[in-house]
Amino acid sequence: MKIAVCINHVPDTETKVKVGADGKSIDRAGVNFIINPYDEFAVEEALRIKEKQTGEVVVLSLGGDTHKETLRKALAMGVDKAVLLKDDTPRDSYSVAAALSAALKELAPEVVLFGKQSIDSDDAAVGLMVAEMLGWASVAVAVKVEIADGKVTAEREIEGGHEKVEATLPVVITAQKGLNEPRYPSLKGIMAAKSKPIEEKPPAPAQNRAEVVEMRKPPAKSAGKIVGTGADAVPELVRLLHEEAKVI
């Protein structure tokens, strides 16, 4: 079985980002980039499917040369092939999805995995747009995936519970935290990944439908207020939450 995983290279969740000089992108200086955490679940799941049924796992990433770091990590985890759709232009989710679906059409995998969202722009849209563009079934926010006899049975997280769904292949699945516990690339895996090539291809040109015009940080929090201590302070706290903060 051929399994594709689309992965993104994003700022570390712990990084304090600053808005760049252009006012519409982040300042990349001093920012650590990592594989998008939800994509890591997707890679792990792909490897587990492969280990159960044999096959091949291919990872794709759309972006500049720095994305090779993340592709290399996936190769070190045990992925067979990596493709960099090399492009530095800013893209919206639609434009990313269009490029990925074009590449996936050519690759023709039976299963495509994504993270449920990319933590950089948080659109949570690309995976499902790709399914739509390919005309395939999709399962979003999966926490359990089983593939057998040309069918996927998956559990999805929904508000207050789980939902079990079935779909026929080919399918696009987006991974939620809890789907699995991603493995570390072993040192041996890292060394083995050195001999696996990263194929570079130009993606379909950008065709953005939305443009970022401004990026700003939320206003700095003002200092907190201590209303009092002990049970005596509770009525006053309730009054303030009700009348001033208007949250209750």
Binding site: E14, P185, I190, M191
Partner: protein, 389 residues
């Protein structure tokens, strides 16, 4: 504590390859997830976190520079150094475990062992199915190991070992001990297996340093070991010293890890601790301390990086390794002490890693050649005059 983001004031990552960075980041994540959360508890209890052994083995942390045919990663020395740096950022005791297993047990078996010994032991040690230790130091011979009194005598069916080793990391845990003893006056290496009659390895207690590491005595009383357990290619003091060169190289990098942990802790603390209505990081005296730390860390990084590149080209001199071990451990200890000052009273708590690192580094400064001995090694190299005696 915010997640550790590395210390790279000089953009040294530019000098590292993609796989070297990946090795470092992988071990970094492993340390943050599996070592940091449990280490203080083990340190206070004086226990080694045994459940880390299979996890470390799975990651490939044992003997990672040795050939792939033994189950090892066959990576270069810079990647190995970065791995040691991250491990010691977790704890010197955990790094010591990996150093002993890799540099002091797998290396001598690889360098001085027979094919049978290599095939038998190296995969087991790499996969963490066997633990090793290295017995050189004796109660009366520390800096001067050449004076050792442990002796081997040729007998029918093998060698009879008599004597005692002290301060042996992993001794009590070990399935196999690489023991150095004199055979007809010449120092030779022997593999002594756990359970051999006449061999005991009681744990030493009462340490105020390296508490999350097992330190033991090795006692040999008419201990008969089979002939096949002699390391055939070992001979003379040079053999154990070659092992120490491997391990010291890892320590030089490891010390950077301890220093980074202390600097990172002190920097974050200084920015958030308010006194006189200001973060203490705004006082010039505190800034000077932090600047000193990051400068020494940067120098140590540069030193190790070039040392590793030389080692990868087989051009490194053991005296160069002495210089990095001596310098980096010295400054790591100073940095740990100054970090403790910056944290004030909090600095002595196990909630922060600095006191543990400071206490650990006292051992690191002494083992694998004391600070003084490395001074004399370099002194002899540059003057041509040995000043040991």
């Amino acid at each position: 504590m915010p997640k550790f983001q590395g210390v790279d004031y000089y953009n040294l990552d530019e000098l590292l390859s993609e796989d070297e960075i990946l090795v470092r980041n992988t071990v970094r994540e492993f340390v943050d997830e599996h070592i940091t959360p449990v280490i203080e508890k083990h340190y206070i209890a004086g226990t080694f976190p045994m459940d880390l052994i299979p996890k470390m083995a799975e990651l490939g942390l044992f003997g990672p520079t040795l050939p792939a045919k033994y189950g090892c990663a066959e990576m270069n020395n810079v990647a190995y150094g970065l791995m040691m740096q991250e491990l010691e950022r977790g704890d010197s005791g955990v790094r010591s475990f990996a150093s002993v297993q890799s540099g002091l047990v797998m290396y001598p078996i690889y360098a001085f062992g027979s094919e049978e010994q290599k095939d038998h032991w190296l995969p087991k040690l790499a996969y963490g199915k066997a633990i090793g230790c290295f017995g050189l130091t004796e109660p009366d011979y520390g800096s001067n190991p050449g004076g050792m009194v442990t002796r081997a005598e040729k007998k029918d069916g093998g060698y009879l070992l008599n004597g005692a080793k002290m301060w042996i990391t992993n001794g009590t845990l070990a399935d196999v001990a690489v023991v150095w003893a004199k055979l007809d006056g010449e120092i030779k290496g022997f593999l002594v297996e756990k359970g051999t009659k006449g061999f005991t390895a009681p744990e030493m207690t009462g340490k105020h340093s390296l508490r999350a590491s097992v330190t033991s005595e090795l006692v040999f009383q008419d201990c008969l070991i089979p002939e096949k357990n002699l390391l055939p290619k070992s001979g003379g003091l040079k053999s154990p010293l070659m092992c120490l060169t491997q391990a010291r190289y890892g320590i030089a990098w490891g010390a950077i890890g301890s220093a980074m942990a202390c600097y990172d802790t002190a920097l974050n603390y200084a920015k958030s601790r308010i006194q006189f209505d200001k973060p203490i990081a705004s006082f010039q005296l505190t800034q000077e301390k932090l600047v000193h730390m990051v400068t020494e860390i940067t120098k140590a990084q540069l030193m190790c990086l070039q040392l590793g590149r030389l080692k990868d080209k087989n051009k490194v001199k053991f005296t160069q390794i002495s210089m990095a071990k001596r310098n980096n451990v010295y400054h790591a200890l100073e940095i740990a002490r100054v970090a403790r000052e910056i944290l004030g009273a909090n600095g002595i708590l196990s909630e922060y890693p600095v006191m543990r690192h400071a206490a650990n580094l006292e051992s690191v400064k002494t083992y694998e050649g004391t600070h003084e001995m490395h001074t004399l090694i370099i002194g002899e190299d540059i003057t041509g005059i040995p000043a040991f005696v």
